[in-house]
């Protein structure tokens, strides 16, 4: 799926830092026209996102999260062994339990991008612990 800015007649580009999926498997993706700067958001319901997920791909492009072995199983299985979950790349930031739970609710195929958005935000601000408040700020910042 591609998006065209009609006034400029140019392709709109996906904003990898602008994605903040809703927690109930809804997806929100931001696209921006490079020429005029106009932004739009593509919003999908959970049934639509489920079909995308069957391909085993990540929206916004593959990340280390989706390339890791057993990525989908480890991130989606409700009660997987800890060593299986350790396949996700580690970062130095501390995630509170509540923040971990919130990021876990993001569908796996956009989780990498969502996590990266939160991490980038935290690093820009010099934040070392990611909690629910930080995640709310990210959501506010990206406007979704």
């Amino acid at each position: 799926m591609k998006f065209l800015c009609i006034p400029c007649d140019v392709k709109m580009e996906v904003q990898t830092d602008g994605i903040m999926p809703e927690e109930k498997q809804n997806l929100a993706m931001k696209f921006k026209c490079k020429k005029c700067g106009h932004s739009i958001a593509m919003l999908t319901n959970k049934f639509e996102t489920e079909f995308v997920s069957k391909l085993g791909v990540e929206m916004g492009g593959a990340t280390d999260v989706s390339k890791a072995p057993m990525a989908a199983v480890s991130s989606s299985l409700a009660q997987a062994k800890e060593e299986l979950k350790a396949t996700n790349p580690e970062d130095d930031l501390i995630w509170t339990e509540e923040a971990e739970q919130r990021i876990k609710k993001v569908p796996f195929f956009v989780r990498g991008m969502a996590k990266k958005t939160v991490i980038n935000f935290a690093m820009e601000k010099g934040i070392t612990t990611i909690d629910a408040k930080v995640m709310d700020e990210v959501r506010e910042k990206v406007g979704m």
């Binding site: 591609k2 140019v10 997920s53 199983v73």
Partner: protein, 293 residues
């Protein structure tokens, strides 16, 4: 106004590139495996997993390198049968998860190995409103990952222990187009034969090669005197095989000692000279003949 073709690339996610990459990863893994064989039944409870484990045992006994993918995600039993408990430590490498090593060096991958405890069911979300379509999507994705992300290494045979029913074969067929074939398993009961007929019909329609039909629990063998007795009343399974034009490749009697495989060696390894052991070997002869022809 520009059209879809005028705009280069896709929406920005490189979906096609990602799908190609996933396909290549799977292909690299499968290319190291000579023969992939799925074992199916229509009905549950016909001893499919037990037959799969013992066919693997016989193949391994003949010098083949064998692996088993437990595709029965919600009723996994291969780990239990092969002696790889749920408490086995997972060995995750950068390029994949190491398979469990069961009796006779048989490599296995099963959802049971990935769950926190032996009593943990498979749930694809903590949320209480998981939709049926989400569960179905995740099961297909899980099968792909279990196949592609397990370090199977070089294998002669990868046996796929399918769940009851015939729905998962669509999934397996699309992931493994070079599937050598399927083995259909039934017991003599009319109900089991009725259901396995549907599975045979579906595979014929899909063009999936059928190696043959195994009649499990065909008789009961007394462990003391080796005398055989009837276990089920039903139509002769030979007739079904003739009607559906599927080779009848094995008549396997029930032997109470099969249950020993749950705690010790696999039945075939220990009792290969028994009536049931020889019947398993005969079925394996037919499978090898079919796959290596």
């Amino acid at each position: 106004m520009k059209t879809y073709e005028d705009l280069e690339g896709d929406g920005g996610s490189n979906i096609i590139g990602q799908v190609v990459e996933l396909g290549e990863k799977l292909r690299t893994r499968l290319d190291k495996i000579k023969y992939k064989v799925a074992l199916m039944s229509g009905k549950g409870g016909v001893g499919k997993s037990s037959i799969t484990a013992n066919i693997a045992s016989c193949l391994a006994d003949r010098g083949n390198k064998v692996g088993i993918l437990d595709a029965d995600l919600n009723g996994p039993s291969i780990g239990h049968l092969l002696g790889v408990g749920n408490d086995a430590q997972l060995d995750m490498k950068d390029d994949g998860l190491e398979p469990g090593i069961g009796h006779q060096g048989i490599r296995i991958m099963s959802m049971d190995m990935l769950l926190k405890t032996a009593e943990t069911p498979i749930m694809w979300t903590d949320a209480d409103d998981a939709t049926a379509s989400w569960v179905s999507v995740m099961e297909s994705t899980a099968i792909r990952e279990l196949l592609a992300d397990t370090n199977w290494g070089e294998l002669d045979y990868l046996l796929i222990d399918m769940p009851p029913g015939s729905d998962r074969i669509d999934n397996i067929r699309s992931l493994i187009p070079e599937l050598a074939g399927v083995v259909e398993i039934t017991i003599p009961s009319p109900l089991s034969q009725h259901i396995v007929t549907k599975s045979i019909t579906k595979n014929n329609k899909m063009g999936v090669p059928i190696i043959g039909l195994i009649e499990n629990m065909a008789t009961y063998v007394c462990p003391h005197c080796d005398k055989e007795g009837k276990l089920f009343d039903g139509e002769d399974v030979h007739k079904l095989s003739e009607r559906k034009d599927v080779p009848y490749i094995g008549k396997i009697p029930f032997d109470t000692r099969v249950s020993r495989s749950q705690s010790g060696n696999l039945f075939y390894k220990e009792f290969k000279d028994s009536v049931t052991g020889q019947a398993i070997a005969e079925a394996v002869d037919n499978i090898e003949k079919f796959t290596t022809k």
